[in-house]
């Protein structure tokens, strides 16, 4: 550097000229020679995976950025897939890309920078998967009480499978299907994921029996060794498993993400076997105990019933005993009966002997009774006759009172009274009629006197003109025809025979007048 700064003008003259490619090539050689193998620590920036399969990524710190490439063949072998934000140590060499005036790092291997960085990444992934619900308690399935077939995903050789089989044999030998997988390295995660899915894909009753429990197991190791069980595909396969799954990865203190997705986590492979099956001998004893208890319970039930029956039988009296008192009473009475009969007979016999029953006495008594009977019979006839007579008398008296003349007289009397009333009624009505007739005649007389007809008889006449009474000369002259009424009739004067008729003939004139 010093050389350039001190003598730039002097150098300009005799410096050889490079073509761009020559210079780029020279730079390339220097860079590749100087940085043939470097380890660089930094944070992974932008990562891109084009279809070519190569992996392009940036490594950066707070001031600088270094472009990096992982060729396809290498990328497939990486144990850790670089992710943005990951703190890593990359191993490789520097080279240039003359076409773009760029330098870049060809990365051969890339690994998380220390356990802290790995754990930070793991935690980030765990949170993301938990947010998806893959670890929810509701997803957990209960383990079968006694699985018939147990599938074990692990390495077919080594202590792990041996421990598991050992413990199973101790507790309850079962059918075990081992699905061999790589338990570390790049192949681990995809193989484990495929094994879990593969067990689930087996059809029940197929050629290969489908396990009813799966154990995913691995022995202890470094965080990097166990890393495959943190991979997302393994976690997803465990969460998706329809068969209950026990994870047993590493030692008790190791935790991998598959533990969160498993239905149960066992601290060690041996513990997984203990979770998987119960102890057979315990069960044998338990079943025997249950059988014995059933027998005892039945026997006890029968015994209780028997005791009860016996107790009740004891309380129930014998049929004989029920009859005994009655029989005893019968016996007692039976003994007393002849004695009592004998005593009664004796008493009666004495009384009979005392009565001195003689024929004379009987005859007298008989005669006495007969006389009393005759006396009563003698009184019977007259009494009957008297009774008949008395009753006849009563009947006759009643019959006499019922005779017809009495009724007729009564009828006559009532008829006369009726006639008198009728007569009186007729009298009174006739009289009132006469009085009304006389009053009418008087009134007629007055009427005749007051009317004009009576005046006609005295020589007056009534003149009518055209039907109306004419009482003056003017009216008489105005009338078309006159009619004079005398006491004995009417006389028409003028051209018309009858004023009534004339009136009928001139309806229009009348109409006009009106």
């Amino acid at each position: 550097m010093d050389l350039f700064e001190d003598e730039p003008p002097a150098a300009s003259g005799n410096q050889p000229e490079f073509t761009v490619s020559e210079l780029s090539g020279a730079v390339k050689r220097v860079i590749e020679g100087e940085f043939g193998l470097v380890r660089v620590r930094g944070e992974v920036g932008r990562v891109s995976r084009p279809a070519s399969g190569h992996l392009y990524l940036d490594l950066k710190d707070d001031r600088s950025v270094l472009a990096g490439i992982i060729w396809k063949g290498r990328a497939q072998l990486l144990s850790t897939r670089p992710e943005e934000g990951m703190e890593v140590v990359a191993t490789g060499r520097l080279t240039t890309f003359p076409g773009q005036s760029k330098y870049q790092m060809i990365i051969e291997d890339i690994a998380p920078a220390g356990v802290g960085a790995l754990m930070a990444m793991l935690e980030k992934r765990r949170v993301a998967l938990a947010a998806e619900g893959l670890f929810d308690a509701a997803r957990k399935r209960p383990l079968p009480f006694l699985p018939e077939v147990i599938g074990v995903v692990t390495s077919p050789s080594g202590a792990v499978i041996r421990d598991i089989l050992h413990r199973l044999r101790d507790r309850f030998p079962r059918r075990v299907l081992v699905w061999p997988v790589a338990v570390q390295g790049n192949a681990c995660a995809p193989e484990v994921a495929r094994a879990i899915a593969g067990f689930n894909a087996l059809a029940p009753g197929g050629a290969i029996p489908r396990p009813d429990l799966v154990i995913v197991a691995r022995g202890g190791g470094s965080v990097e060794d166990l890393w495959g069980f943190n991979e997302e595909i393994v976690v997803r396969a465990a969460a998706a498993s329809a068969i209950p799954l026990i994870s047993a990865v590493g030692h008790e203190t190791d935790t991998t993400l598959i533990d969160f997705a498993a239905d149960r986590r066992a601290p060690t492979p041996t513990a997984a076997a203990e979770l998987a099956v119960p102890v057979r001998l315990d069960l044998v004893a338990g079943v025997a105990d249950l059988g014995a208890r059933a027998g005892r319970a039945l026997a006890q039930g029968l015994g209780q019933r028997q005791t009860r029956l016996r107790d009740l039988g004891r309380v129930l009296p014998r049929a004989e005993a029920l009859l005994d008192p009655a029989r005893q009473r019968l016996d007692a009475l039976d003994g007393r009966l002849p004695l009592a009969l004998r005593a009664v007979t004796a008493v009666k016999r004495v009384a009979l002997a005392d009565m001195a029953l003689r024929p004379g006495l009987l005859r007298r008594a008989l005669t006495g009774e007969r006389e009393r009977l005759a006396g009563l019979a003698a009184r019977l006839d007259p009494a009957l006759v008297r009774l008949l007579r008395d009753k006849g008398e009563v009947a006759r008296t009643r019959g006499a009172r019922l005779r017809l003349p009495v009724l007729e007289a009564d009828l006559e009397r009532r008829r006369a009274a009726l006639d008198a009333v009728v007569r009186r009624l007729a009298d009174r009505a006739g009289r009132a009629q006469d009085q009304r007739r006389a009053r009418l005649a008087a009134l007629e007389q007055v009427r005749l006197t007051l009317g004009y007809q009576a005046t006609l008889a005295r020589g007056y006449a009534v003149v009518r003109g055209d039907g109306a009474v004419v009482s003056g000369v003017a009216a008489a002259q105005a009338a078309g025809a006159l009619e004079i009424q005398f006491a004995d009739g009417r006389l028409a004067i003028g051209g018309r025979s009858a004023p009534r008729k004339a009136a009928r003939e001139e309806p229009p004139e009348q109409g006009t007048l009106l």
Partner: protein, 78 residues
Amino acid sequence: MSAVDGMSFEEAIRELEAVVGKLERGDVALDESIALYERGAALRARCEKKLAEAEEKVARITLSADGQPTGTTPLDAG
């Protein structure tokens, strides 16, 4: 009541426990208690059969080149 044959060990022992519990309470009629006892005996036989089927059989899945299971082969893990 379901058929005892075909029951899993767990189903059988659960019902057996229930049967014994019922018998021990002693509040069932005589006829029923005898029927229960017979059912219990069948369940017990089923449990014992399942317990007798304690055979270890370990096999390893054989895989094709693309990782698909093709069959099983005996495994001697020692």
